[in-house]
C-alpha cells in the first residue's frame, strides 16, 4: 500500500496545485511549480545515463539547451515565415517542435557520446563538461539567433485549441509530459535493456564477457538521456518564451546532478523529488538572503557526506 500512497498523494497535490495557488493568492507559484516539473524531467533524463547507466555526465545542460534552442529557432522561423537555412520552414505546433527538439538533442548526444564514451570515470566527467562548454560558447557567439542576448518569441507553441498563454493550462501540459516521460523511464528500467544497463553499471567487464556490446548499450542510454534533456529544454523554452545560452551554463549541469542525487539516482521518481527540493530550497533561501549560495554549498557537502541514497530511498524503500 505504502508504495502507492505517496505517489498518489503527490499527484493529487500537483493536480490541485493551480487552484491552491490561486486561493492562497500567489499565482506566481504555478510557474514556479511548472519550472520544478520541467527541471525534474531534465534530472530524470540525466538519471537514465547517471542512475541506470552509471555515466556521470557533467554536460547535460548542453542537450537541455539545444532542445530549448530547437524550439526557439523553429518558432521564430514560423513567426517570421523565413525557412531555416532556406530549407525547412519553422513550426508553431508543440508536438512537432518537441519532436524536433528531441531529435536534435539526440543527434548531439550521439556525437558527443560517441567521443566521450571512449573514456570512463573522471575523464568522462571532464570531457562531457568540456563539450558542453564548447556548445555553450558556440551559442553565445551565434548572432543570427541572438547570441548572448538570447531569443525571445511572443507566443507559446500551440497544442490543440488550448489557451497556452494561461499558466495553469501550461502547468497541466507540462505535468502530462512529465508523467509520460516517467512512464518511459519505468519501461526502460524494467526492460531487458534496463537490466543490461544495470549490469554494465555494476560490472562492465563481466557483461562484455557474456557477449554484451557494452559500448553500444551505454551509447543508447546516453542518447535517450540526451533526448529527455532536450524535451525538458523544449518545455522550458515554451514556459519562458525565451531561450539563451544561460540555459546551458555548466552550473545547470551541476544542478541537474544535484537533483538526481538529492532525490536518489537510479530511482524513477527520485530526480523529480530532487528537483522540487532543490528549486524549493533555492527559492526559500533566496528570500532570506542574497548570499544563499553560501548556505546551499555547505548543505550540499553535508548532504553528500552524511546522507546517501537520496529522498526516494528514505524509509528503506528499494528503487
Amino acid at each position: 500500500m505504502r508504495k502507492f500512497l505517496l505517489p498518489t498523494l503527490g499527484l493529487a497535490l500537483l493536480l490541485a496545485w493551480p487552484f491552491i495557488a490561486e486561493i492562497i493568492g500567489s499565482p506566481a507559484l504555478i510557474t514556479l511549480f511548472t519550472r520544478m516539473m520541467i527541471l525534474g524531467l531534465a534530472a530524470s533524463a540525466l538519471n537514465i545515463a547517471l542512475g541506470f547507466g552509471g555515466l556521470v555526465s557533467l554536460g547535460h545542460a548542453a542537450f537541455y539547451g539545444i532542445g530549448a534552442y530547437a524550439i526557439g529557432i523553429s518558432t521564430t522561423h514560423a513567426i517570421s515565415g523565413e525557412p531555416f537555412l532556406g530549407l525547412v520552414s519553422g513550426s508553431n505546433l508543440l508536438f512537432v517542435n518537441v519532436l524536433v527538439a528531441m531529435l536534435v538533442s539526440g543527434v548531439a548526444a550521439a556525437i558527443i557520446g560517441a567521443l566521450a564514451l571512449r573514456t570512463s570515470g573522471i575523464q568522462f566527467i571532464m570531457i562531457t563538461l568540456a563539450f558542453a562548454q564548447m556548445i555553450f560558447f558556440l551559442f553565445l557567439a551565434l548572432k543570427a539567433y541572438g547570441g548572448d542576448d538570447g531569443l525571445t518569441f511572443r507566443r507559446r507553441n500551440a497544442l490543440f485549441d488550448l489557451n497556452m498563454r494561461d499558466d495553469a493550462t501550461f502547468f497541466y501540459v507540462t505535468l502530462g509530459f512529465l508523467l509520460a516521460w516517467l512512464a518511459v523511464c519505468a519501461r526502460v528500467l524494467h526492460s531487458r535493456f534496463g537490466l543490461l544497463l544495470g549490469g554494465i553499471r555494476q560490472n562492465e567487464r563481466r557483461m562484455q564477457a557474456i557477449g554484451v556490446d557494452t559500448f553500444r548499450m551505454k551509447w543508447i542510454a546516453f542518447i535517450i538521456s540526451g533526448m529527455g534533456a532536450g524535451l525538458a529544454g523544449a518545455l522550458m523554452a515554451n514556459l519562458g518564451r525565451f531561450v539563451s545560452p544561460d540555459l546551458m551554463h555548466w552550473t545547470t549541469s551541476g544542478e541537474l546532478l544535484i537533483m538526481c542525487v538529492l532525490g536518489g539516482s537510479g530511482t524513477i521518481i527520485g530526480p523529480v523529488l530532487g528537483a522540487f527540493a532543490l528549486i524549493g530550497l533555492e527559492a526559500t533561501l533566496n528570500t532570506w538572503t542574497e548570499h544563499w549560495q553560501a548556505i546551499l554549498g555547505p548543505l550540499l557537502v553535508l548532504m553528500v557526506l552524511a546522507f546517501r541514497g537520496g529522498l526516494a530511498r528514505i524509509g528503506g524503500r528499494k528503487p
Binding site: 510557474t31 548572432k143 541572438g146 511572443r154 525565451f242 544561460d246 542574497e290
Partner: protein, 389 residues
C-alpha cells in the same frame, strides 16, 4: 527581505515628511542586477533612484511611491519571473531598473504585452529601438549603439585616421564594432574578435604592435576590459598608441580599480560627474553625502529615470492606468536632467549631447575622468528612423 527594507525606508521617509494622505503609495517595480561582478551597476541605479525619491521627500512628482527591488542575477529567466510576480501578485504597472540588454529583451516585451509601462535606466537594445518600438517603452539612458557611435565621432574629432578595433565575439561586441564604424571616418586596419571569457590578451596586443595603428578602440565589458587595459599598459603601448573607449569601459569604479594605468585613455559619454550645471551639482553632492562612494554613469541614469518618471506622474496626477495620458506627460520630459539637454526622440529614446573626456591626474594625484568638450549635440539614434510611433 530586500524588498521589505526598501519599503520600510520609503515608508519612513514618507511619514517623516508628514504628508499624511489617504492615497496608497504608487508601486514601482525595479528589476536590476545586484549580484555577480556587474552587481555594482544595479546597485548604483537602485541607490540613485532611491536618492531621487528621498530628495523629494518620499515622492516622485508629488506622488508617494514605493519601490519594490529584486535582483535578476543577470539571468533573463529570473528577470522574467520577477516581472511576472510584480505584475500578477503585486499588481505593479510601472517597471524599471534592468541593466543588461539580454535581460531587457526577455522581460520588456512581456511587460508591454501585459499592458505594463517600462522605463529603461540603462539597457537600450537595437531590437526595441527600431521597427519594434513601443508606445509604453521609454529609454532614459541611450540606445546601445550610440555609445560606440559617439566613440567613433570622438576619434574623428581627435584627428585619428588608422584604427585597430577589438570586441568580444558576441552580439553586443559586434554591435560595438559596427556602431563605431558607422561614425568613424578613417580607415580600420585591423579588426579582432576576442573570446567572451578571455582575460589574457597578449596575442592580440602583439598583433596591435605589429599593425601600428594611430589608435585602438576596444570594448570589453566587466573585468576583461580592465585586464585588457592593464596588459596594454604593461606592454608599454598606451603611451605609443592611444586608446578610445565608450563609457561602459571606463566608469568611476573601473577607474578606481585600474588606477594610474588608465591615464591618457579617451572616453565618450553623455554625462560626467564634473558637469557644471546646478542639477548635477545637487545630485553629486547628495550622492556623496548619502553613499560616499564613486559615482558612475549608471547612478546618473538611475537618477534621471526617477526624475523622468516623476515628471510624468506629476502630469497624470499619479495615475499610471491610462497609458496614453502617461505617455503624453512622459514625452514632454519636463524635468532638469543632470546631463543638461534631454529630449525623447520619436522612438522614445533620448536625443542628447555627447561629450569627450580623458583620464587625467586629479588635484590629489588620483586619476579622474575630465570632460573636455562636446562631441555632438542633440544626437538621436540610428534606429529611430525605423520606428513608426
Amino acid at each position: 527581505m530586500k524588498t521589505m527594507r526598501i519599503m520600510a525606508i520609503a515608508a519612513a521617509t514618507f511619514c517623516a515628511a508628514g504628508a499624511v494622505q489617504a492615497q496608497e503609495p504608487l508601486k514601482i517595480g525595479m528589476i536590476t542586477t545586484l549580484s555577480g561582478p556587474a552587481g555594482y551597476l544595479g546597485l548604483d541605479i537602485r541607490d540613485a533612484f532611491q536618492l531621487a525619491i528621498d530628495m523629494q521627500g518620499g515622492k516622485l512628482g508629488g506622488v508617494p511611491v514605493q519601490v519594490l527591488v529584486e535582483d535578476d542575477g543577470l539571468k533573463p529567466g529570473q528577470g522574467k519571473q520577477i516581472s511576472e510576480k510584480f505584475m500578477k501578485t503585486d499588481k505593479v504597472k510601472l517597471l524599471t531598473g534592468i541593466v543588461f540588454s539580454n535581460v531587457a529583451l526577455a522581460v520588456v516585451p512581456d511587460v508591454l504585452e501585459d499592458g505594463g509601462i517600462y522605463v529603461s535606466p540603462n539597457a537600450g537594445p537595437s531590437n526595441l529601438a527600431g521597427k519594434e518600438c513601443h508606445a509604453n517603452y521609454y529609454v532614459v539612458s541611450w540606445q546601445n549603439d550610440s555609445l560606440h557611435e559617439s566613440a567613433g565621432s570622438n576619434a574623428n574629432n581627435l584627428g585619428y585616421k588608422k584604427a585597430f578595433i577589438l570586441a568580444p565575439n558576441y552580439p553586443a561586441g559586434k554591435d560595438a564594432l559596427e556602431g563605431f564604424k558607422r561614425t568613424f571616418k578613417g580607415e580600420v586596419i585591423g579588426e579582432v574578435f576576442t573570446k567572451l571569457d578571455q582575460n589574457d590578451f597578449a596575442a592580440e596586443i602583439a598583433q596591435i604592435r605589429a599593425a601600428k595603428p594611430d589608435f585602438i578602440f576596444q570594448f570589453h565589458p566587466g573585468g576583461a576590459g580592465i585586464a585588457f587595459l592593464r596588459q596594454y599598459q604593461q606592454a608599454g603601448l598606451l603611451e605609443q598608441i592611444p586608446m578610445v573607449v565608450p563609457s561602459p569601459s571606463m566608469d568611476a569604479v573601473t577607474l578606481k580599480a585600474i588606477g594610474d594605468a588608465a591615464i591618457g585613455v579617451n572616453v565618450s559619454a553623455q554625462w560626467n560627474s564634473d558637469f557644471d550645471n546646478p542639477a548635477n551639482k545637487a545630485f553629486v553632492e547628495a550622492w556623496t553625502k548619502k553613499y560616499n562612494r564613486p559615482i558612475t554613469y549608471y547612478a546618473s541614469q538611475g537618477y534621471d529615470t526617477a526624475l523622468a518618471i516623476g515628471a510624468a506622474l506629476k502630469g497624470t496626477g499619479g495615475k499610471v492606468d491610462d497609458a496614453k495620458a502617461f505617455r503624453t506627460a512622459m514625452m514632454k520630459a519636463d524635468f532638469v536632467s543632470v546631463r543638461g539637454n534631454f529630449k525623447f526622440g520619436n522612438n522614445q529614446h533620448p536625443v542628447q549631447d555627447w561629450y569627450s573626456m580623458k583620464v587625467v591626474k586629479g588635484a590629489d594625484g588620483a586619476p579622474i575622468i575630465k570632460t573636455n568638450g562636446k562631441i555632438s549635440s542633440n544626437t538621436g539614434d540610428f534606429y529611430a528612423k525605423d520606428c513608426k510611433l
